[in-house]
């Protein structure tokens, strides 16, 4: 039974890279360009097993997205990882307060990405 991942990033390159890695690892991937896009997509779509989101995005940023998702019944306990840059230490705290499960620090490689996801993904 394959798992479904939601990837939220305004950078198409980042989306492609994360999506490529996860697809190769057997995930079904749903991509969204920003928070609002993500909220719209999950409102109609399937249940997600994991969410990976960027923080700095237009329309709706990652922190707001995490807060929004946590309000939804289907996302109450879903692991949500945020992509963050090293310099954004305070962002980690904000993310945690919003309900982020964990974080992946950019730059990362496919191995770190998969390892971190494995860490939080319910089996």
């Amino acid at each position: 039974m394959g798992k479904t991942a939601l990837i939220v990033d305004d950078s198409p390159t980042m989306r492609q890279m994360v999506s490529f890695t996860l697809t190769n690892a057997g995930f079904t991937v749903v991509e969204a360009e920003h928070g609002k896009d993500a909220v719209n997509k999950v409102a109609a779509g399937p249940k997600m097993d994991i969410v990976v989101t960027d923080l700095n995005m237009p329309e709706m940023d990652g922190i707001t997205l995490i807060k929004e998702l946590r309000k939804m019944a289907g996302f109450k306990f879903t692991p949500i990882l945020m992509l963050t840059t090293e310099s954004a230490v305070e962002k980690k705290q904000a993310g945690k307060e919003a309900g982020a499960t964990g974080w992946i620090v950019k730059p990362f490689n496919p191995e770190i990405l998969l390892k971190t996801i494995a860490k939080v993904l319910p089996t």
């Binding site: 700095n56 730059p107 939080v120």
Partner: protein, 719 residues
């Protein structure tokens, strides 16, 4: 490992180019609206994106430089610093520099290190000047901890997670599982003492604590990292209670972790087994030589041969890189593709229904057949439209570089210039957009340099000091029009004429219409500039503009009024592939008229046609006289009718001019795929291209503009 992402480099370059455009555009806009927070956020986000993604590919120079820009931008958007002209200028220069840095990783082109250094310093000092330096330190994370092989340690771990653990999607069992992967979890005891009375339990809270004992080869850092996401919010103690050098037997069954795949280097094994010390190994490694050097020493190759081989290697590396960047790509909204896939699905269904019908067709099912064929037609048309729309982009992407250009031109020429953009959302084919940038740049340069007057001259002529260049795009018929309009001095008729005579482009007493005079400026080598300036005036450009446009199947025309200004109108096909056409018949020939140029079709009365000496044949359409072109005459065909009263007149319009074209019959309307006549033949006057008709034969598409010219010439000859 990070090389796995290398295949996405092209995507990054494409994306970076877009972000750079956003940054540049935003910065220019900020000069005018320094308080616009949305704008600042947008610029910041783009810079941030470049930084983050560049880092993913190990483009550290790009990432570091962008980080400096980002730091300053962050201060601006937090209001800790204000957008001053000098800061905007610095950021713009930095954007240019960032462009070259990105270009450099893309193509291997050299970077002006000095500029990078200087701007890096300027950015840093601008960020530091009157506020605390960005508190975010850039400390690098330590490398992965080296596992102490062969030594096992026993840890005692006590963990009390925060009670909101579940609400962040964290699962304590996951942590147990991860610990188990590290070694042998010999003791797991659950402390439930904090569990409240059943009635008071909130099922979404975590009331547990754990006491664990782990025997592992890994050191403390690795265990620590298991708790990475909860450490700061938990009560956690990890204590080393025992160290042994025996490998724990239990760990054999443990799932191997990701630390090492493949054999270790021999040096590492020697060090680990205690045969040599790290120092000795390092020394030995320092003596290690490259294959090339060893071969030279053994006189197997000469240093020259080696140098050549190395050069070749470098070349191959750089060409490999260059090749990779050469591919053109287009980014498409996934929604567009999803829709397309749905449509293809429908097409497949229609097709299978049709073949099903075909295998056991009877005449009484004719209506079903027709219905399905109609459905097929609908599917095909929709797919075609969708596919075409994939190539359509808003022209704004081509416009975005001009605010900067005008800003720089303004500085260079000392003229005050504002650029007004409109119609940026107008969509047209990607290829056309890519090719239109250079001609437009030439025209804008020309307007700034030749068109607009210096401020003093403008004031003397009761004009506002600030000159205006307007860039506008709009659809007209099947084409897109782009106008470059300035409110400058207009083209100087006498100056152009005398210059043209001097350059022997025309003879002295030649009679030319205004339009012919204006078109002289598109002749190669023509320039009326009194002195050659840095901006334009070398006489290159305007002829190139015309050539580029013609290559795209477009035209350029000029309207000018002395003292009021000049407007260049570029007319380009919307797409290079398909048009909506009206098929018409003249005798036995079929021609296609672009539907968008047809205003109406009429059957004239005999009285409506007038012959006027010097003006040819005119037709009275509700009081307006239009010149009439008999298509059979122009194309030397055998018509069915020579009497206009028995024929059909199509009223066509192009670039605001109208003409009545006489044909025998209108056959119908259809989409036609434009095929080039120039590919294997040459341009034929009055014909824009060819297409393949339903019966497989070739039909010609009328060139309305060309017809107008033919009509005009014939009138001139008759007069």
């Amino acid at each position: 490992m990070s090389n796995d992402f290398a295949q996405f480099q092209d995507a990054f370059f494409e994306e970076a180019a877009e972000h750079l455009a956003v940054v540049e555009e935003g910065l220019l806009e900020l000069e005018r609206h320094p308080e616009d927070l949305d704008l600042l956020n947008k610029v910041f986000r783009s810079a941030h994106s470049i930084k983050g993604t560049a880092g993913m590919f190990g483009f550290n120079a790009v990432a570091q430089f962008t980080h400096k820009m980002e730091t300053l931008l962050d201060l601006l958007r937090n209001g800790q610093k204000a957008v001053t002209p000098s800061i905007a200028d610095l950021l713009l220069k930095s954007t240019d520099c960032l462009k070259t840095l990105i270009e450099s990783v893309k193509t291997g082109a050299a970077v002006d290190e000095e500029t990078v250094q200087r701007l890096t310093m300027d950015l840093a000092s601008a960020s530091a000047a009157d506020s605390q330096p960005s508190g975010t330190s850039e400390k690098k994370k330590d490398g992965a901890p080296v596992p102490g092989r062969g030594i096992t340690r026993t840890y005692s771990i006590c963990w009390t997670p925060p009670d909101w653990l579940f609400q962040r999607g964290l699962d304590p069992l996951q942590i147990m599982k991860e610990l188990r992967c590290l070694g042998n979890l010999t003791k797991v005891s659950l402390d439930v003492s904090r569990l409240p009375h059943l009635a008071d339990i909130d099922p979404e809270q975590c009331y547990f604590s754990w006491e664990l004992q782990l025997i592992t080869e890994k050191d403390r850092q690795v265990i620590d990292s298991v708790f990475e996401f909860v450490r700061e919010d938990s009560e956690l103690s990890i204590e080393l209670i025992e160290t042994t050098s025996e490998p724990p037997t239990a760990s054999i069954s443990a799932i191997p972790t990701v630390e090492s795949d493949g054999p270790k280097p021999i040096g590492q094994i020697l060090v680990e087994s205690g045969v040599v010390s790290t120092g000795v190994l390092d020394q030995a490694l320092a003596q290690q030589k490259r294959v090339g050097e060893i071969l030279v020493e053994q006189k197997a190759v000469t240093p020259q041969q080696l140098e050549q081989a190395l050069q070749k290697q470098r070349q191959q590396e750089s060409t490999a890189q260059a090749k990779k960047t050469d591919t053109a790509s287009i980014r498409v909204d996934t929604a567009k593709i999803d829709k397309l896939i749905n449509l293809v699905g429908e097409l497949v269904i229609t097709q299978s229904m049709l073949s099903d019908l075909g295998t056991r067709f009877e005449m009484n099912q004719l209506h079903v057949l027709l219905e399905r064929v109609a459905q097929l037609e609908r599917n095909t048309r929709e797919i075609q439209e969708r596919v075409m729309s994939i190539r359509m982009l808003p022209i704004g992407t081509a416009f975005s570089r001009f605010p900067r250009l005008v800003r720089d031109l303004s500085a260079k020429t000392g003229k005050k210039i504002q650029l007004v953009l409109s119609g940026e959302e107008t969509e047209l084919d990607k290829t056309v957009i890519e090719s239109i940038g250079d001609p437009l740049t030439h025209l804008i340069r020309n307007s700034a340099d030749h068109g607009l007057e210096p401020p003093e001259e403008r004031l003397d002529n009761n004009k506002p000091e600030l000159g205006t260049i307007r860039l506008n795009a709009f659809h007209e018929g099947g084409s897109i029009c782009i106008t470059v309009e300035d409110d400058g001095r207009g083209l100087n008729r006498t100056k152009i004429l005398s210059k043209a005579v001097k350059q022997r482009l025309i003879s002295e007493n030649e009679k030319l219409t205004d339009e012919q005079i204006w078109s002289l400026i598109f002749k190669p080598g023509f320039s009326t500039a009194d002195k050659i300036t840095d901006v334009s005036g070398r006489g290159v450009g305007m002829d190139v503009v015309k050539r580029n446009l013609e290559a795209l199947g477009g035209t350029v025309s000029i309207k000018t009024a002395p003292g009021k200004g000049t407007t260049f109108t570029l007319k380009l096909p919307l797409t290079l592939a398909i048009i909506e056409g009206m098929t018409v018949r003249i005798g036995r020939e079929t021609y296609i008229v672009p539907l968008l140029s047809i205003l109406e079709s009429i059957q004239p009365t005999r009285e409506a046609v007038k012959t006027v000496v010097g003006k040819g044949e005119l037709i009275n359409v509700r009081g307006t006289f239009l010149s009439m072109v008999r298509l059979y005459d122009v194309f030397n065909l055998q018509p069915e009718h020579t009497d206009p009263a028995k024929s059909i007149l199509l009223i066509l319009e192009t670039e605001g001019e109208r003409v009545a074209v006489m044909v025998d019959e209108i056959l119908g309307q259809q989409q036609v795929v434009i095929k080039s006549m120039e590919q294997n033949f040459r341009k034929v006057e009055g014909i824009a291209g060819a297409t393949i008709l339903g019966d497989g034969t070739v039909g010609f598409i009328l060139d309305v503009r060309g017809l107008l010219e033919i009509a005009r010439r014939e009138i001139a000859m008759a007069a």
